[in-house]
Amino acid sequence: MAEVKLVGLEKKFGDVSVIHSINLDIADGEFAVLVGPSGCGKTTTLRMVAGLEEASGGSILFDGKPVKRLQPKDRDIAMVFQSYALYPHMSVRDNMAFSLRMKGVSSSEKKRLVGFAAEMLGITDLLDRKPRQLSGGQRQRVAMGRALVREPKVFLFDEPLSNLDAALRAQMRIEIKRIHQRLRTTIIYVTHDQVEAMTLADKIVVMNRGHIEQVGDPLTLYRRPVSRFVAGFIGSPKMNFFPAKLLSDESGLHADLGDGIRIEMPRERDGVYRPYAGRSVEIGIRPEHLLDDNRLIDSGAIAMDVTIDVVEPLGSTSLITFVLGGTSYTAIGDIALMRRPGNKVRLKAAAKDIYLIDPESGRVVHPADNDSTMIRLAV
């Protein structure tokens, strides 16, 4: 197990800079997930940690020791690849024992370690098969088994579940989490799937265009995203961003969304929002907080009257799509209300669930930590 530190890490391909001096601390035993859209640099970062890609600048420290100049074989890591990368000419047993063979481990010890990992992953009966005789899910398990056997300082996962179907992916997610809970080895996990990131991570690192946008635990990222990018990336369905004008009158601050829709801003946030009065802003509301529900939310609730465009029933709830100013937005509906396209409905949201975004900087304007709406959240 090891603590991993990236300090000013950079990567350039020729003149093109793809990772711009990133800093990151991953504690010993922590499960860190690098997440972001394709091309954001997450896999390149992981490959630099693995030693498969040479860093152009900065340093990588394992337990305080620089490893940048070490070959992958000397870094004491294990990696699970997106393609699984099982050696096709070897049996599952030989695949799993490969790293032990490279280390010169005795055959009795090899047998013990392979047996232990195979049992942990439920693949003991597959040990004599060749990779081509395995299903996608089984291959995935063998790839993980191969990494487990190595007992490395750091596990690196490069989108390991992206080739599996949804049901299998959910199952493997639980298994990965279980393995981490059992072994407590430091894990760096790359994915573009924010659901994977939210469910697995102790720490999520959101990357965008070679920069780290935000680092934090899943709930912090969900509740207090620093930027429009993070707010839009974390959470499913995606957060709604309403272009608006922040106006001030005798009753306080309110956002004018056009079409006669007016959202009162919570009084507690008056101080932080005041500098934006009279300016164009964006109002962010997550679909799961924008409800078509007859129940009362709270005294600070805001409401908007819209016409339903599309209804997608999900079973317990339904997704409601509506259009404002030519843009589609999403809300969650109560399935019992039996909404139909064309129905006029009143959507409600609690005042605490509203985000104000400065469209120029893309930053989310957050109230201070002692803000009463946030305290309510934390309970």
Partner: protein, 277 residues
Amino acid sequence: MTRRTGWQRLGLGLAVTVLLAFAAFPLLWMGLTALKPPSEIFAWPPRLLPEAPTLSNIGRLFAQTHFVTYFKNSLIVSTAAVVLTLLLAVPGAYGLTRYRFWGRETIAATVLFTYMFAPIMIIIPFYIVMRTLGLANTHIALVLAYCAFSLPFALWMLRTFFQSIPIDLEEAAMTDGASRFRAVIHVVIPMALPGIIATGILTFILAWNDYIFARILISSDNLKTLPVGIADLYNASVIDWGMIMASGLLVIIPVVIVFSYVQKFLVAGWGSGGVKG
């Protein structure tokens, strides 16, 4: 696919038979002549099957000529050419596939350009180089010549094989604790084996069948390879056709054996190398 009619099938069968006869009949005639006594070889009308089959032609070949020496020389030179070619081509093709360096694509693309030159154009300069190095009339010169001649094709063919091996596998081996060298030995080479065998065979056949390099580079009788040695049988005052046919038969036997043994590798190799998966 539509089913062929009876006429089409007959036509196809006929065409195959004609082609087969055209290609295989000389070989058959050679084999059967090798087993005929001299009197039958020139009998008129000619007979296909020997009336009194005999091994005397083969016996004379061993007793009166240096056939065994030529055979041994051919085997040594061809095997050495295969080993040397593969020793150079495998790392070379790997480098051309995996390392990024200036001129890589140009080298890979122009490597086959060397086949634009007929061997006869290269042989005299090559002979002069060998003579200067004091290697003329040695097996080393022959091995170097075969290696030089088969290397471009070997590089080109092996490169295709290496390209078809996903780089993830090598990287997995490296994160599993293997050095690049060990990753190549344990993962890349076993996967490229069909291609390596196919390349080795083609080199072997090129060296085994070569006449022109051996004719010019070798002058001592005890260093001659089979093609030159057999050709010299024609120079005797009386041409012993039975013996020449017997030698022809014995020359192709090793090639046939090697081919039938490694055929499956060859087909797998050509198939998997050609299609990038």
